[in-house]
Symmetry: C2
């Protein structure tokens, strides 16, 4: 397994020698294996590892998980940071927990002046996530979800285990006699994910394409590559258009960019566009193209779009 | 069903009043229903329909199909063109047949001075195709396959039945007492497609997402929207770079555009990039980034890429 990790590190240029890296460790098999792998590489690459753990407090046993990770850090003689999060139970808990974890890792990275955060997702996670998003209906953005390397808010999130199968991680842990915590799930839509993991992916692998995981991986990677470019162009367009979007200038953009400009404007008001569907985007397109001046389209999470005489404006309603 | 067709015609602006349209009719349920629908609209929209049928000669009974379509055209008092194709049995027969059909429809359109070609794909076809491509491993290009409206070589290919379920087409034919030819398949990878149609899609619909077909449709549409823009930009980049691609200028393009420039150059030599996989694209990227001057990457169908001192050149080997 270490060989695959090294290969991924080289191919995607995940790590430079001498770097400081925050390693997000839940205590489950993936993140524990990740920590051991990076530890094994740390002398050769002169790495400066820092273990970080967020206790979501959403589950019994979460305190024991935190103690387990702390003991691991002590054993490897690595610095350790942890915190307890308060997760709102409104909306998607999985999403909120994911966001709280990332926020905490960013805080730790900022504090210790690290630029990189390593997370333990594996090849199976990626295949499951991509397939889940295809099944739920997703555009480019959703498909380009889990990547080996991604810039977020000035930090670089890396996933060195992304080329490794789950079973290889288990074999590695067994061989090294490492016993991670079990039944740790960061996934609250575990029901759907388990069905995909235990039933759908094996079925597709057997009856449709033995290389299905690689195929889904390629799809995610192509989508990410294309999306990165589209997003960069759309950001420029958004900045040029400003908050009062000239309908004339908007109409000169190709539809793909118009859609992304809508998304970016909504994200600027709400922080994310997770509940925004293609149906909503089409409504905005219809507003722009056909509806009379003064028409309003209501979007998720209290955001609305208003068509003025010469402009399109996104705004937040005061009372939700 | 006619209502859904009218809605699609309006939403995607498929047809302008008074237009001349070549209708591709295989004789199977979809294309026969399409012909009847367009015929029903033809007075209101003053359409000028022309029936076209290509006999691939790949199957017993294909002559009878041709006669059936001709009789249909006579019955509706519409002009009719047909031809027999000689399909090479090398490579993908389905692909060759599809191409031969389109070529023939374009020839007919040119001859009668039509700009539009109507084809009979339905909502189920689209869902099956998108899913097939996800399973096989595909990028944006593959996902944006079947669209309601698409410009090809100066013609517009429209698919007015793309919002209609297969079962609704069958119900329409039954109600109208129209009996199409059966067992007509333009699909030679019928084994995989049938498995997807009869087993996988019903399973996904039942256990994973009742709206799976709509989800796949949305995915295809988003991908097409994004791909159209990327392709337009990449075409400009390709023209600017010319045949001897400056490595320096290439390196300044974002990866998504570099990849498309590779594809476009290969397509310019071979007419298509259908056998080109992400693996090949990655090899070219590796050639550009790391391999010594003089290195060559061999690509499918006799095309190669050569790294020179300051340029990257694609060429066709003489002997295959």
């Amino acid at each position: 397994m270490l060989k695959k990790v090294k290969e991924a590190v080289r191919r995607y240029r995940l790590i430079e020698p001498g770097e400081k890296i925050v390693v997000g460790v839940s205590g489950g098999p993936d993140s524990v294996a990740l920590l051991y792998c990076l530890y094994a590489l740390s002398r050769q690459l002169r790495l400066n590892l820092h273990v970080a753990h967020l206790d979501h407090g959403l589950r019994r046993g979460s305190v024991a998980d935190a103690r387990f990770v702390q003991a691991l850090a002590v054993k490897l003689n690595l610095p350790f940071s942890s915190a307890r999060a308060r997760i709102s139970r409104r909306g998607s808990i999985e999403e909120a927990a994911r966001q709280a974890r990332l926020d905490f890792f960013f805080r730790v990275a900022k504090k210790i002046k690290a630029k990189k955060i390593a997370l333990g997702h594996n090849l199976d996670d990626q295949a499951e996530t991509v397939l889940m998003r295809v099944l739920r209906g997703s555009g480019l953005l959703g498909l380009s979800s889990i990547l080996p390397k991604r810039e977020i808010l000035g930090f670089t999130v890396i996933r060195p285990l992304l080329e490794v199968r789950r079973k290889d991680i288990e074999a590695y842990l067994k061989r090294k006699k490492i016993r991670p915590r079990r039944d740790i799930s960061n996934s609250w839509d575990i029901y759907l994910r388990n069905k995909i993991r235990n039933r759908l992916l094996p079925l597709l692998e057997k009856d449709y394409n033995p290389g299905i995981r690689q195929a889904l991986k390629n799809l995610a990677e192509s989508a990410a590559c294309d999306y990165a470019y589209l997003l960069a162009v759309a950001r420029k367009s958004k900045a040029q258009l400003g908050r009062r979007i000239s309908l004339k200038k908007l109409s000169k953009l190709p539809p793909a960019l118009q859609r992304l400009v809508f998304r970016l404007n909504i994200a600027a008001l709400k922080g994310n566009t997770r509940r925004l569907s293609l149906q909503h985007i089409r409504e905005i397109e219809d507003l722009v193209a056909r509806r009379p001046v003064g028409s309003i389209v209501d979007l998720p999470q209290g955001v609305s779009a208003l068509k003025r005489k010469k402009t399109l404006v996104f705004f937040r309603k005061k009372a939700q």
